[in-house]
């Protein structure tokens, strides 16, 4: 299938200012050379710990944050430098769902107005009646009732609010959605409902998704392919099945082994990573993971490993081929 979205060598460095003149004294390398492509109808999972840059990737490729370097292609068009008015038609086709269902909905607007707002902005649904009809349809689509239209966000539970956020994203019939930790703030029993809903919507509407999460288990259920990020870089990318069964990068291996399994009879070897994720202001030279890697060699400090193919559709950024 054809590629819908592609990023090449995407970079986002946030300047750090200091001193009385607020001069730039350094930069936080939140995203540092990330490349991947998402095909039409595909779900790409993007996992990583806090500070890995996964959220910045999601926002940068929608140009909610302007990239420092690299290119973003959407449906064949380079949208990296498009001016605002030319970007608008693309904005309609790319939407976002946020993590926190409490702060991402305006408490003073009714649910109906919240969902209709993108329709108004993009000039879809000419009349009030048309919009109301569309909102009712969207509410049903996400498992709520059209009667909910006149209520306010505070009258809903976390899971229901997340459904409202999803309805808003779907209002303008987008082709591509960035779902940024959409289930992390929800209870386990509700999390499963929302994951299932996203899966259904993807099938029904043929959506393409970038699913960002720190929970590896959730990502596996919904993703076709998964990319693992660490300190602003992609460490490994493969089909979901392959990545979970046969991780090739030491970081992926450690990350998978750190997830506690809900079965007290399962005993397995756990790789406990030492220390914390290093500061993105001053990342380690060479491979950024080497300071916590149990397979690190002196060479790892000298060269930044490129993503290289290690199997069909399977890439890793690690110089060691003699492990895993």
């Amino acid at each position: 299938m054809s590629v819908l979205l592609e990023v090449k060598d995407l970079k986002k460095h946030f300047p750090i200012r200091g001193g009385i003149l607020s001069r730039v004294v350094g930069s936080v390398k939140a995203v540092d050379g990330v490349s991947f492509a998402i095909r039409k109808g595909e779900v790409l999972g993007l996992v990583g710990e806090s500070g890995s840059g996964k959220t910045t990737v999601g926002r940068t490729l929608l140009r909610l944050i302007e990239p420092t370097g690299g290119r973003i292609f959407f449906d064949g068009q380079d949208i990296t430098d498009l001016p605002k008015d030319k970007l608008r038609p693309y904005r309609r086709r790319m939407q976002i769902i946020f993590q926190d269902p409490f702060s991402s909905l305006n408490p003073r607007m009714t649910v109906g107005d919240i969902i209709a707002e993108p329709l108004v902005i993009h000039g879809l649904g000419k009349t009030q009646e048309e919009r109301t009809e569309r909102v009712a349809e969207l509410l049903k689509l996400v498992g709520l009732s059209p009667d909910h239209m006149r209520r306010y966000p505070h009258e809903f539970s976390g899971g229901q609010r997340q459904r409202i956020g999803i309805a808003r994203a779907l209002a303008v019939a987008p082709d591509f959605i960035v779902a940024d930790e959409p289930v992390s703030a929800l209870d386990v029993s509700i999390q499963a409902q929302v994951v299932n809903l996203l899966q259904d919507l993807k099938e029904e509407l043929g959506l393409t998704l970038l699913f960002i999460a720190h929970d590896l288990a959730v990502v596996e259920y919904i993703s076709d392919r998964v990319a693992v990020m660490y300190l602003g870089k992609v460490m490994e990318i493969a089909s979901a099945r392959e990545l979970y069964r046969n991780p090739k990068h030491p970081y992926t291996e450690a990350l998978l082994s750190a997830v506690p399994i809900p079965d007290p009879t399962v005993k397995r070897e756990r790789i406990v990573l030492q220390g914390d994720i290093p500061s993105p202001i001053n990342p380690p030279s060479g491979c950024v993971f080497r300071t916590r890697c149990r397979y690190a060699l002196p060479e790892c400090a000298h060269t930044v490993p490129e993503l290289k193919q290690v199997g069909p559709g399977h890439y890793k950024a690690c110089i060691r081929d003699d492990i895993l």
Binding site: D187, I190, A192, L255, A258, P262, P264
Partner: protein, 339 residues
Amino acid sequence: MDEKRLLEVRDLKVHFFTDDGVVKAVDGVSFHVDKGETLAVVGESGSGKSVTSLAIMRLIPTPPGRIVGGEVLFRGKDGQVRDLTKLSEAEMRRIRGNDIAMIFQEPMTSLNPVYTVGDQIAEAIMLHQGKSRKEAMELAAHMLDLVGIPEPKKRLANYPHQMSGGMRQRVMIAMALSCNPSLLIADEPTTALDVTIQAQILELMKKLQEEIGMSILFITHNLGVVAEMADRVVVMYAGRAVEQADVVPLFKEPLHPYTRGLLHSVPRLDLAAEHKERLEAIPGNVPNPLYLPPGCAFHPRCKHYVEGLCDREVPSLEATGDGRQVRCVRWKEIREVRA
């Protein structure tokens, strides 16, 4: 109270008196913790698990909250059993930190940002053990070393903001364990941490428990963490315990429909791919604590619900005969059908 018992909570009731009505956050919860054991209390938001732990420590904000019934029996270091709900604030202060210590979810909000971590650990030691500042600082450094913080002597002079989340949680643990408590209450201690850091902290807690021999009351919503840490488990829903069992039988054969639903809704890394098509979600929402459904609070979400049976009376917590307890009128039928 039985010799090996450290803590016994009997029919605990904590209600919050709000403008909108009475919220029965904890409504008749009973469980016990034995010496050296880890008991996990699991539940989703609003289940009352955190309120239970705060009530044991007598840290319920009053008003609006109040312990309206029940007993919290605790065996102190001196061997005496006391009902913590009846103690004066001064007596309670001697227990907190010394006999029972607590760690919370967000280490940044539980540490004071304007004091060094050394000062904060030493404060508890000076208060409870009557040590001099110098001795307390030495012990504080030893505690930081124990929880795996490199260069502990230097770190004593650090402020909390100079440390990462994982480091701060280690400091909290060092502080909690500095007076050798017999019970550590850990309320979602790893929820705010990344998985790799969570693995470090869980590993550390297990190691320290082996060395020190304290009991742990582990409050969490994460079933993976429960499987890893607990000897026994209490499952809470809407302010009540709905099931209690040893960890292995609970995961192998959950008896309460809620426990079962919870276990099935968790995405799992360890299952074969063919079982991963779809998650089994529990339908509906966690009920509003102001308007709990009549009868079994779980009935509107339960697939085994029978009209006229489940929505009449609150089921009692029944002993199953094999050391487990379950609060469901239909548990026997459901178990037989499955077998």
